[in-house]
């Protein structure tokens, strides 16, 4: 469980970034943290593995205060994948990069090989095992960073903007993979601007604005609330905008994904045809 109580944080050189955040994220919950650039999203998740410690208030992971544990110790339970993969990649090959943490944690060679190969396969990276991460494209490097964290099987997985640079198929794969992690009772928290991705995954959505929680609820509620979205520099997903523009035709207003919209519109169309 990830819990923040009255969390305040200020960087030594600047003003307050987080202004009293109370948040409970249960085990095997899937949460998207959204908000405008500079709302404090990345600063918030850096508290989850102890990289930042609150200036006031408390953050606890599985009921232990992050101030009482080292970052190295918290990291075994909380895997954080940075937004910019170049901040975390440094080995000569993709394979070494992904195996690095397991070697550090002292696993035997057989386990290291088995787990490394499995995660490379899952994230469609096997063909690059021998390549240098720095010869890969931005989207591929991002997946290497993800693999190098997921390989040690942390209980809580924190992803900072995982969909940047990913194409449609990779996003689809990522979505399935995240849902698989959730079904394995892992907590997944992702910071993202990608309203279309969130509309398809439908996690719980926490909106941040100026270091405060501006909204918290199911995706279909939050992503259809124009007042909330406006205040956080977000826009409705395309499908929700379409349904909203057709609201006088009595179509459902809480639809945010393509397939539900298809079913709803086909039904409405058939009704019209029957009446003719």
């Amino acid at each position: 469980m990830i819990k923040t109580e009255n969390l305040h944080f200020a960087y030594p050189t600047g003003g307050d970034v987080l202004n009293g955040i109370d948040l409970d994220i249960g085990d095997s919950e899937f949460v998207a943290i959204m908000g405008e650039n500079g709302a404090g999203k990345t600063t918030l998740i850096k508290h989850f593995n102890g990289l930042h410690k609150p200036t006031k208030g408390r953050v606890s992971i599985d009921n232990i205060d992050t101030r009482k544990r080292s970052v190295a110790s918290i990291s075994k339970d909380v895997g954080l994948v940075f937004q910019n993969p170049d901040h975390q990649l440094f080995c000569e090959t993709v394979e070494e990069e992904v195996a690095f943490s397991l070697k550090n944690f002292g696993y035997d060679t057989e386990t290291i090989d088995r787990r490394t190969n499995a995660i490379l396969e899952t994230l469609d990276l096997s063909q690059y095992a021998e390549s240098s991460p720095f010869t890969l494209s931005g989207g591929e490097r991002k997946r290497v960073a993800l693999a190098s964290v997921l390989v040690w099987n942390p209980k809580h997985v924190i992803l900072d903007e995982p969909t940047i640079g990913q194409d449609y198929q990779q996003k689809d794969r990522l979505r399935n993979f995240i849902l698989q992690l959730v079904s394995q009772r892992k907590t997944v928290v992702m910071v993202t601007h990608d309203v279309e991705f969130v509309a398809e995954c439908k996690p719980r959505v926490v909106l941040l604005s100026a270091g405060r929680v501006a909204g918290d609820g199911p995706a279909r509620e939050i992503l259809t609330d124009d007042v909330l979205l406006n205040g956080c520099s977000l826009i409705r997903p395309q499908i929700s905008s379409l349904m909203h523009s057709l609201r006088d035709l009595d179509v459902s207003q809480d639809i945010i994904d393509v397939y539900s919209a298809r079913a709803c519109l086909v039904k409405a169309y058939e009704k019209v045809r029957k009446c003719q």
Partner: protein, 280 residues
């Protein structure tokens, strides 16, 4: 005469076995707004690097064929010569901004061209105005939001008065509203100044309504090339292109018997078409 001519272009990075660009041929007319897209690793960033000569002058490797921009061959001309014609905006504005004020950053290009002080001043004022950040001129770039930083990066490129602007995923670090704002700035450059735009973008839901043309690449080659509404279909989706959700919905509805005169690429178009179907 086309502004950009790519002819039988193949490039393999030093140390890589497979070419990143493979026998690529296309041309872009003056004043066109082209989106270049395709699955991750398809070679789109490499094409951008060719357009301003970073390939072959900075990134080593084997280059075959040729690419000319405004009549200048990337084989013959240096990056600094090409930079006068081709402006380049990177994905992450932090990689591009380095001065202590926005104004200094925007002035850097014209100063390096050796322009007189009065002309530099004029261009800085103009570039800041066009991108809507005149009020931020004395601020430090690192104090700005991502959207403001990206505007500053565009202003810095604009002050060089390039004929072609190449933008490599300029919105990917931005929240949706800031992303829409940046795309509108780019759209304005194209419409009011007639600047030729090459935009590499995954966020087609936001960008495709502004483009005249979409080129889709896969494995270093061109797969599809045409108007957004023609190109963003099943084939594009199968190779991994994120076609706008609204376009996908219309294609699925078409299969269910709802017929569209043309496949919509914006919410507004889709709304009009579906309203017609539901009220007939």
């Amino acid at each position: 005469m086309p502004t950009i001519v790519v002819k039988d272009l193949t490039f393999t990075y030093l140390g890589s076995k497979k070419p990143s660009i493979s026998d690529l041929t296309f041309s872009v007319d003056e004043g066109q707004f082209v989106i270049l897209t395709g699955p991750s690793g398809c070679g789109k960033t490499s094409v951008c690097r060719c357009l301003n000569g970073l390939i072959p002058h900075f990134y080593s490797g084997e280059l075959e064929g040729d690419l000319t921009v405004c009549g200048l061959s990337i084989r013959e001309k240096s990056t600094s010569e090409l930079a006068r014609k081709v402006g380049f905006v990177f994905q992450n504005p932090e990689n591009q901004l380095f001065s202590l004020s926005v104004e200094r950053d925007v002035a850097f290009g014209p100063e390096n061209l050796g322009l007189p002080r009065s002309e530099t001043r004029k261009r800085v004022d103009w570039a800041l105005e066009v991108t809507g950040i005149s009020g931020l001129r004395y601020r430090a770039p690192y104090e700005l939001s991502g959207g403001q930083q990206q505007r500053a990066a565009i202003a810095a490129v604009l002050a060089m008065k390039p004929e072609v602007m190449v933008l490599d995923e300029p919105t990917s670090f931005l929240d949706p509203k800031s992303a829409v704002d940046i795309l509108k700035v780019v759209h304005d450059l194209n419409k009011t100044l007639g600047m030729t735009i090459v935009l590499v973008e995954h966020r087609l839901d936001l960008a495709s309504q502004y483009a005249d043309r979409v080129i889709i690449m896969d494995k270093g080659e061109t797969i599809l090339d045409g108007k957004p509404s023609e190109v963003l279909g099943e084939k594009a989706r199968l190779i991994g292109v994120g076609i706008p959700r609204i376009t996908l919905l219309a294609q699925l509805l078409q299969k269910d018997g709802l017929s569209f005169a043309s496949i919509p690429i914006s919410v507004e178009d889709a709304s009009v078409a579906i309203r017609r179907l539901l009220s007939s």
